[in-house]
């Protein structure tokens, strides 16, 4: 059994804890969270022990840590886990500050770090990637990514989220990089606060359109909103020289109903916890492989590149001009 420790017993921590606990090759030994109540409840559920972070890192039996703490702690905990020789599974984003993340890069270079960009592990997006790699639509030319949340987070979250681009679009930046197969060199973004004025007062935006451009002239369009009003809208369209491939939304059921008012399909999966449930499981499977010696498929380079795109997009929307990376 490979023993792992979880840092952070919040919403996403609970997902990873359950997946780790259920994994046949993993044993979730510790839950670490300064909020004792949440830690105790989760530890009880997954039969783990609540300890302090130092104790977890000092245990020679622990081979890996799962970092699902608040974003501001990610980088520091990555560094501590790397220093104690643990493999790392880190929730996105690695940090909210690119300069700080880059400064820490040398200390993390040798670490076995899996960055949990969940979309890379989603079976639907993986199927798209396989089709593109197999040449099903010819040479990829453009990409349209639609990523609309069902409802905005509480304003208290917005204030320390790092802003829409670092918190939400970061997923789309990584997805774009992954699918384009070529690093974007230029970013343009325009954004507004259309949903909730309180988000604007917190200094953030809630609606955005982003363009990325690669050296060969490929263009990616990202459409973001913090509130769709109809569920979690997660689609990708890839346009190539010989056709297009599309990933649609996953619905709660395959049932459609026809009545006098029209045809009604079932609702979309409500939010990321549901829509990406498989992806979170598969990411944990991959972490078990990493613990057994595999190279992480997504790591530090991807974390830094997505964060660089987020910073560039924010800058672009602020200055009203494209930003070169």
């Amino acid at each position: 059994m490979l023993h792992v420790a979880l840092f952070g017993a919040g919403r996403i921590g609970a997902i990873h804890a359950r997946n780790a606990a259920a994994h046949p090759a993993l044993s979730l030994k510790y839950v670490v969270d300064p909020q004792g109540h949440a830690a105790a409840r989760l530890a009880r559920e997954v039969s783990a022990e609540v300890v302090a972070i130092d104790d977890a890192l000092a245990d020679p039996e622990v081979a890996g840590v799962i970092i699902a703490s608040p974003t501001g702690s990610h980088l520091d905990q990555c560094l501590r886990a790397a220093a104690s020789g643990n493999a790392i599974f880190c929730e996105k984003p690695i940090d909210l500050d690119l300069a700080r993340a880059r400064a820490a890069a040398s200390a993390l270079t040798g670490a076995r770090l899996l960055l949990d960009f969940n979309r890379r592990f989603d079976p639907h997006f993986q199927a798209l990637k396989r089709r593109l790699d197999a040449g099903a639509v010819g040479a990829l030319e453009t990409l349209n990514i639609t990523s609309h949340d069902p409802a905005p987070p509480p304003v208290s979250y917005i204030a320390h989220s790092g802003g829409l681009f670092r918190d939400m679009t970061i997923h789309d930046f990584d997805t774009a990089r992954w699918l384009l197969g070529e690093a974007p060199v230029e970013v343009f973004a325009t954004a507004s606060c259309l949903i909730d004025p309180a988000i604007g007062r917190a200094g953030d935006v809630d609606t955005a359109k982003v363009l990325l451009r690669t050296p060969s002239g490929k263009i990616c369009l990202i459409s973001n909103s913090r509130r769709s009003g109809y569920g979690y809208d997660q689609r990708i369209e890839a346009f190539g020289s010989a056709g297009a491939a599309r990933v649609g939304n996953v619905t709660l059921s395959a049932v459609s109903t026809w009545t006098e008012v029209g045809a009604v399909a079932d609702k979309f999966e409500n939010f990321f916890i549901d829509r990406y449930a498989d992806a979170y499981r598969l990411a944990m499977d991959h972490f078990a492989q990493v613990l057994e010696g595999a190279e992480p498929k997504v790591g530090l380079n991807e974390a830094l590149a997505a964060l660089a795109l987020a910073e560039a997009a924010e800058q672009s929307s602020r200055i009203g001009a494209p930003v070169r990376l």
């Binding site: 343009f188 259309l194 263009i219 459409s223 001009a321």
Partner: protein, 335 residues
């Protein structure tokens, strides 16, 4: 006694001329009497098919019974013919765009903004039943207040390279439709535009100084946004969609297909393909806009799009072209 249908003439026997000519000939509310086109071969064939005579433009305009002219000549001749026909007090149905040169179009503004005879400029998508249904959904408030719009407009295959130099470029020739659809759906004038464009489809298009693939972002005073995806070659049919995001939901106009038949086999599920050309995809809209022109001739309505819509769409085309050239946001008021 039943009144005779109003007598109209068709100017231009090309691809669009054939579409409008055939629709006019079959429309019981129009009497297509003349076809004007100096090209002997194609014009004679089409005139024969439509059962019209082939006078010169001057002869046709001299006919006091002639009340309207359908202009489907090459784009760079539209404006001149429009002015000639209006001066002869004939109602005009002009294929889009009204002109490729904004300065020239603006120069003709005094004659075009409140013309002596009705002027309709054919932005056919406003008559497409699918886009009309989308517009009605937005008006019904079912998706709340409109916040952003994503338009996808991909041609099946690029035009011949010989067409490119006279086309005015992709934004004036092709995206012009999307600019008008955006204006129609969002009902606000954009303040800023930004676009990136590439030549990815055919190097010959690039050699002719044009682009074939683009992403355009329009920004409105209210902070609302519209994106436009364009390519000259989809390889899978004519992809024409509009997604309208509102405060309470989203409405999407999808692609009609050549049939409703889906097929399942070992390879997967296969839906029937999209229409392969604008002629097929928008056949209904071309008929509907001639009905509109018949209404205009009957005095029952005013043209829904004319000089202002043409000018505004052309302003956006120029602004977007400038943005692509300079790599900057272009303020619409600066055009």
């Amino acid at each position: 006694m039943k009144r005779a249908a109003p007598k109209v003439a068709l100017l231009g026997a090309g691809r669009m001329g054939a579409i409008h000519g055939l629709n006019a000939a079959r429309n019981p509310r129009l009497d297509l009497a003349y076809l004007i086109d100096p090209r002997e071969d194609s014009a004679a064939r089409l005139a024969d098919e439509l059962g019209c005579r082939r006078p010169t433009l001057a002869e046709a305009l001299a006919d006091p019974e002639l009340v309207g002219v359908l202009i489907a000549s090459p784009t760079d001749t539209h404006l001149e013919f429009v002015l000639t026909c209006l001066r002869a007090n004939k109602a005009v149905f002009c294929e889009k765009p009204l002109d490729l040169e904004l300065s020239r179009l603006r120069g003709a503004e005094p004659e075009l903004i409140s013309p002596t005879a009705p002027l309709y400029v054919a932005f056919n998508r406003r008559f497409d039943s699918h886009f009309l249904a989308l517009k009605a959904k937005l008006a019904s408030g079912e998706v709340g207040a409109l916040e952003s719009l994503n338009l996808i407009s991909h041609d099946p295959a690029p035009p011949p390279p010989s067409f490119i130099p006279t086309s005015g470029g992709m934004f004036r020739d092709f995206t012009i439709h999307d600019f008008d659809v955006a204006a129609w759906l969002i009902e606000e004038e954009p303040v800023e535009v930004f676009a990136w464009a590439s030549c990815l489809v055919d190097p010959a298009i690039g050699a002719a100084g044009d682009v074939d693939t683009a992403r355009v972002v329009l920004r409105y005073p209210s902070g609302r946004m519209c994106t436009i995806s364009n390519t000259r070659r989809s390889a899978y049919g004519y992809d024409q969609r509009a997604e309208a995001y509102g405060s309470r939901g989203m409405a999407m106009a999808g692609n009609p297909r050549i049939s409703t038949v889906d097929t399942w086999n070992e390879a997967g599920a296969l839906a029937a393909p999209l229409f392969a050309s604008f002629q097929e995809r928008y056949a209904q809209s071309y008929r509907a806009e001639l009905d509109h022109f018949a209404d205009v001739l009957a005095g029952a309505t005013k043209p829904i799009t004319a000089y202002v819509a043409s000018r505004d769409a052309l302003i956006l085309a120029e602004a977007v072209g400038q943005s692509v050239r300079t790599g900057r946001i272009v303020r619409v008021n600066d055009i």
